[in-house]
Symmetry: C2
Subunit: 150 residues, 2 copies
Amino acid sequence: MLTNKGKYGLKAIVHLAKLEAGETAQVADIAQKNNISKKFLDAILLDLRNAGMLRSKKGPGGGYALAKPARTIKVGAVIRALEGPIAPIGCASRSAFRACEDCGEIDSCPVRSVMTEVRDAMAGVVDNTTIADMVRRSLVKAPAEAEYVI
Amino acid sequence: MLTNKGKYGLKAIVHLAKLEAGETAQVADIAQKNNISKKFLDAILLDLRNAGMLRSKKGPGGGYALAKPARTIKVGAVIRALEGPIAPIGCASRSAFRACEDCGEIDSCPVRSVMTEVRDAMAGVVDNTTIADMVRRSLVKAPAEAEYVI
DNA sequence: AGATTAATCTATATAACCGATAGACAAATA
DNA sequence: TATTTGTCTATCGGTTATATAGATTAATCT
């Protein structure tokens, strides 16, 4: 599940990816342009900075910018930095495995088996999509029909 | 994300799928054999019954049983009945679409675009796996290597 | 140096949700 | 009618999500 934290983080990093080279954006500006609480965004950008995806500069004319090219930042990395493992259940995680306390035979657990497939399917998307891809998508309208089977 | 509710529900329904034809199992027994709180399981089985997947019989010798063949019950249906939509975010759901209040142009939202792909990947697994598949998996040990990249 | 700007840190608050429990009630069977 | 077992209502502690407030630090400009 993607929480607001993850959603805001992705929006902010896409915002930063659209800046000119060398340019920075201030938290207040990113927040206002994307309808995000400034204080909440403070904490989010700090997490992304500590994860090495952003760099920051204090003082007048300061702000945030990407620390590396957008095409090298995976969507999955952003989500994991802000929300932890993407697996639907701990025992299905490959990066942060954790057995259920209440389960017996983990090797033959059918829930774990299915959820591992789900995890791989999710990771297959988010680990093969970059922030550069997201920028590209934000510049074109989504296809009209079919997408809107609601 | 799969909560305990979903996990317990899947375990219980797999348990029921293993019964002989015509046989029923009682909540207390399912709970004990699967390490689940009986009262919590009460509510879970009720949800699954109201969703038409289980039938129940009261009184001595009563209990729960599948309402239809295990091969016709999709994992996705169980999860949706217990936890709601599978999509990681409301605006990416096909069965229960809901726009974000804070978002502007939904058609060009890159978060929604990626998350729709994630949703489809997840649904591709859970809507193509049945309870009968889970029973089958529970009878064989999981493959040893590769699976355990933890 | 002093003023200003903007990120950073610490602390707290509110609300929702998860997981579980208790107990009364209803229905079926013997 | 007594017993068994599912059904319903209500509650409740703990955790997590979602912020908000205020003080602090660092950089820049005048």
